[in-house]
């Protein structure tokens, strides 16, 4: 199967299921088998999902909790593999998923920046070049050389965020990250996301906040119980998930208060 040269992400008939295991130990398993109870059950997180994204598009991925958004994002990110179907991506991926994952609490902020950048695929030169920008964005001040275990949760998140947004990527994934951080930082983040979008990168934004999706995205995909329920224009998509009705009651939503 061939795809146009500007294709950024292809998701083809992707299914991913997880097993819910009720019993784990030998004893529990034996007892359950003897009583004829179920010991294993499959749960389809994604069910035959297909779509493709061109380079530079920004997609808002919406849906209720448990509809498979995070699983889909993990498949695109490459952390998980689909059970069937395929996920293809072009270029380097970075994103605000699990920012700060893999930060080692005993290492200093400085060491963690280098390590995290390397995990995200940056080389030594590239990290060195961007180091000052990252530090400035993270705004951790004199804590840079103390172990991140001592950081406040806001500082921790800022540091992770700072590294992620400085990766020179082609696809940018963002998963309800703006819940942490204070208002000024949220503003800074939204501005940075806007910049990323304008630079022609593919943006994949998971959010419940209709306001920020409307601002950031030019296409919405809605997942419903692991299937694509809607794929199309932003306003129609937001209407589809019925998030537009409570827009007025949520003063925070312009900044993407993802809860």
């Amino acid at each position: 199967m061939s795809h146009p040269a500007d294709t950024s992400i292809v998701v083809e008939n992707v299914t991913k299921s997880f097993s819910l295991r009720y019993q784990r130990t030998f004893k529990q398993l034996t007892v359950a088998k003897l009583q004829g109870r179920e010991t294993n059950k499959r749960f389809k997180a994604l069910d035959d999902v297909s779509f493709s994204v061109s380079q530079g598009e920004s997609i808002g991925l919406m849906g209720l909790n448990g509809s498979g958004k995070s699983t889909l994002l993990k498949l695109v990110q490459g952390v998980m593999r689909p059970d069937s179907g395929q996920v293809l991506t072009r270029g380097r991926i970075s994103g605000l998923i699990a920012t700060g994952a893999g930060f080692h609490p005993q290492l200093t902020g400085r060491d963690n920046i280098y390590l995290n950048a390397a995990v995200l695929g940056m080389g030594e030169q590239e990290t060195r070049r961007k180091f000052d920008d990252i530090v400035e964005f993270a705004d951790v001040g004199e804590f840079l050389d103390s172990p991140v275990g001592n950081y406040s949760s806001g500082m921790f998140a800022r540091l992770g965020f700072a590294v992620a947004v400085h990766v020179d990527c082609d696809i940018f994934l963002a998963d309800e990250v703006l819940a942490v951080g204070d208002q000024p930082f949220k503003k800074k983040c939204m501005a940075r996301m806007e910049e990323i979008r304008k630079s022609g990168r593919t943006l994949f934004y998971v959010s419940h906040a209709a306001g920020s999706v409307r601002k950031m995205c030019d296409r919405v995909i809605v997942l419903e119980k692991g299937r694509v329920g809607f794929d199309g224009a932003v306003d129609a998509g937001i209407k589809y998930v019925k998030y537009d009705s409570d827009e007025e009651q949520n003063p925070d939503e312009e900044l993407g208060a993802d809860i």
Binding site: M80, V87, A98, A101, F103, Q106, L107, Y114, S199, G200
Partner: protein, 298 residues
């Protein structure tokens, strides 16, 4: 959203999001590997007063126990020329192996946060564990060499080649087992406990606290089966390198004839081959099971 956007042309092929090339990918991303190894070394002993010294206290205390029990109590001193060095050279090899095996087995569980959320070759963690253990071998070898030189030992080319062969065998074998057990440990924590038992067998299954001559005496031609154990071969190779030649009474040649098996090099090469083959198998097992890692790591 109709404003003109710059077109970003991505000069890269469309690839599966989770492309796996296993160990090959690990060595392609050497920079990340280097940082992981460095992190492991600094983090392992952070918060401890003695720090890195612990990696010497452990083998040295083992040395002390075996020396008194085996050497002094059981009188093995007299049968083996320079018994302490016989034992210490073996301890280095065994300790390298058991550290790689044990730390490697825990490596994926320990790095849960990274494994569950970041896209990177997961073979990285067992390999990093092996390299951290290798890093600790170096100073131990320095101590060994000093002790050997004091006893009148001089290096010989063949011996040095044997030492490198021994290290290579343990590197491959340790990585292979660490790969298999690290992923198995995600599914059932039982494998972690199993490692402890295996480690004990390894300590007694190599000519460390007893000489190889004793094996030959008791088992006769069955001693060949004993030599099928790659770790035993590695220990003998290492002893050939650093222990042979440390006696003032017995010449190097005599020690080789008396205490080393015939065709040691051949056994070493076979051990290397077996370890390499096992590494290939381990990679296949790892690739098969790796899929399920993120959901099983809870």
């Amino acid at each position: 959203m109709t404003e003109a956007q710059p077109v970003r042309v991505v000069d890269a092929p469309l690839l599966p999001a989770s492309h796996d090339q296993g160990l090959v990918e690990v060595f392609r991303r050497r920079y990340l590997l280097k940082l992981l190894v460095r992190r492991e070394i600094t983090a392992r002993y952070s918060g401890s007063f003695l720090g890195m010294l612990w990696s010497y206290i452990n083998p040295l205390s083992q040395f002390a126990v075996y020396y008194f029990v085996m050497g002094v109590l059981f009188n093995l001193h007299e049968d083996i020329p320079n018994f302490p060095l016989h034992m210490f050279s073996a301890i280095i090899v065994v300790h390298f192996f058991t550290e790689t095996f044990a730390a490697g087995t825990r490596s994926i569980m320990r790095n849960k946060a990274l494994v569950r959320k970041m896209a990177m070759p997961r073979e990285m963690f067992p390999v990093a564990s092996m390299l951290v253990s290798l890093f600790h071998v170096l100073p131990q070898v320095v101590i060994l060499v000093i002790a050997a030189v004091v006893s009148g030992w001089t290096p010989d080319a063949v011996g040095m080649m044997y030492a490198l062969l021994a290290i290579a065998v343990i590197m491959l074998l340790g990585t292979a087992l660490a790969l298999m057990f690290s992923v198995a440990n995600v599914f059932f924590r039982d494998f972690g406990s199993f490692v402890g038992i295996l480690t004990m067998y390894v300590r007694f299954g190599v000519p460390m606290i007893y000489p190889f001559t004793m094996v030959e005496e008791r088992f006769g031609r069955f001693a060949d089966y004993y030599l099928l154990n790659p770790i035993a071969d590695a220990v003998l190779l290492f002893q050939r390198a650093f222990w042979v030649g440390t006696s003032r009474d017995v010449s190097r040649e005599e020690m080789i004839v008396d205490h080393m098996p015939d065709g040691l090099l051949m056994h070493g090469m076979v051990a290397l081959g077996v370890s390499a083959a096992l590494l290939v198998v381990a990679q296949l097992v790892f690739t098969r099971l790796e899929n399920k890692i993120p959901e099983r790591l809870t």
